[in-house]
């Protein structure tokens, strides 16, 4: 009986031992895998970081000899990579005071938004911001982007002569300003009041105009005509805001290379004629020569948040002027069909 008992005991011990071995093996396999995963994850992250750093260094050193188009392509690739980090894109659209060290604006590899960053025509940021009353004697003339600004920024003062599709040609010649008596020309509308500041936002609908000399001459002639009508007004010329090419692909000429080109012309004109240049792309650029992601539904027209930021920008980028107008608002609201025809007629006679 005794040896039988011993045998049974040994058998049980062996079974327990085998079970323990199996459990240990399972634990070793799983734990080991976990430890392995931890190690491999750490090393792959640091490797990826090293690769990214090297990639940036190569592209920044290589960009010296790159053409503008190549740089833009490189920048777009870099941007796409950075877009995977949630929130970074949004931060890029905020005014400077909200941006962090990771925002593209502070990246030395970002593209400048103006052809001459040191141009004296560029309106710098003031230490203090004005309020809406600064615009009480201002008139805003421009295309649908300016109209969107009026609609969505929350601005409460100022007169707006805007029109969807306004180009240089239609701004000069066509009845595109809506009144209770029908549409009238910009010059006729401008004649209906007295203003101290004229804000111009034009050029998006002229991006397909490759005869840039013609655009330049036409723009100067139009501004001179406006200055004749409002001799005491200062003229602010807003930069053409970048577009999101991926969304605005329906027309090939609506691209950021053309935006840069037209902006360099506008800046030149401002320097030559003592107008004031407002570089809106300072806060609307993604840092790589394109409109920041998520700023527009169609790649051109800005969402309300960005229109509000534009208003903040105008309030902090301004020139002190003594108001010689003030009465303009009430007068301009009473533009009648009779006035319209008179103005148009007098314009025609002058042109003739």
């Amino acid at each position: 009986m005794k040896p039988q008992k011993q045998r049974r005991r040994r058998k049980q011990d062996r079974l327990v031992l085998n079970l323990l071995v199996v459990v240990t093996l399972v634990l070793v396999v799983f734990e080991g895998k976990l430890v392995y995963t931890m190690f491999t994850f750490r090393s792959s992250t640091s490797e990826a970081h090293a690769t990214n750093t090297a990639g940036t260094a190569v592209s920044s050193s290589g960009s010296v000899s790159e053409t503008e188009a190549e740089r833009r392509q490189t920048a777009a690739t870099l941007r796409d990579d950075s877009d995977t980090v949630l929130g970074e894109t949004f931060l890029a659209g905020l005014p400077n005071r909200f941006t962090t060290a990771s925002a593209p604006a502070e990246n030395p590899d970002t593209l400048p938004t103006v052809s001459d960053p040191d141009s004296p025509a560029i309106v710098p940021k003031s230490e203090t911001s004005v309020d809406d009353s600064y615009f009480s004697d201002a008139v805003f003339i421009g295309d649908s982007r300016m109209e969107g600004f009026r609609n969505a920024s929350g601005i409460t003062q100022g007169r707006f002569f805007t029109s969807v599709g306004m180009s240089l040609s239609s701004m000069r010649n066509d009845p595109v300003i809506s009144t209770s008596e029908g549409n009238i020309t910009v010059a006729a509308a401008l004649s209906g009041g007295l203003y101290s500041k004229i804000y111009i936002m034009l050029g998006t609908n002229d991006l397909g105009e490759y005869n840039w000399d013609s655009f330049r001459d036409g723009f100067i002639a139009t501004m001179e005509r406006f200055q004749e009508i409002q001799p005491d007004a200062i003229i602010y010329v807003c930069s053409v805001i970048y577009v999101d090419e991926s969304k605005a692909a329906s027309t090939q000429y609506v691209n950021n290379a053309n935006v840069d080109k037209i902006n360099s012309i506008l800046l030149d004109i401002c320097e030559e004629k003592n107008y004031y240049y407002l570089d809106l792309n300072e806060f609307l650029s993604n840092g790589y020569g394109s409109l920041i992601d998520g700023a527009s539904s169609d790649g051109v027209h800005l969402y309300a948040d960005y229109c509000k930021q534009m208003l903040d920008y105008l309030k902090s980028h301004y020139i002190e002027v003594e108001s010689s107008a003030g009465e303009g608002e009430s007068e301009s609201e009473n533009i009648t069909g009779a006035e319209t025809e008179t103005e148009t007629a007098s314009e025609n006679s002058k042109d003739a």
Binding site: G165, S178, E333
Partner: protein
Amino acid sequence: MRKGTMLLCAAVAMLSLTACGGKKEDISVDTAKLTKELLTTVSSDELSETASDMLPSIYFYEPDDVTSAVAYASSGATACEIAVIESKDAKNTEAVEKLLQTRVDNQSALYASYNEAEVSRLDDAIIESAGAYTVLCVCDDKDAAEKILESYGF
């Protein structure tokens, strides 16, 4: 005979009441609520509220003639817009309707050379009044907008 006359009178009275029920002359509308509901009929654009100080120059009304006005407009991408204007005097709504029609006509003329697809949207613009209120609605779902307006007594 008497029964027949009574029935006829009742029928006439019922018909008269039904005719009056179409448009309420003296109604009170929560303009903010109505505007928010009408916004649901716009799917192709994201409209933003425009500062009320800007509205007289957009819709051409005299501020002195209006009690309140709310408007939501496009960022420029489409012709969609919603405006609810409460006149001080209900008799003024006809004039406001004309001004809103001018606004629509002007926009149609401008969009014709810019984005023709928006012209048909403007052709479907709703301009309706009830009591002292006048509504302009340029949207994607006209039928839904009309149902909403009907529920408010327009």
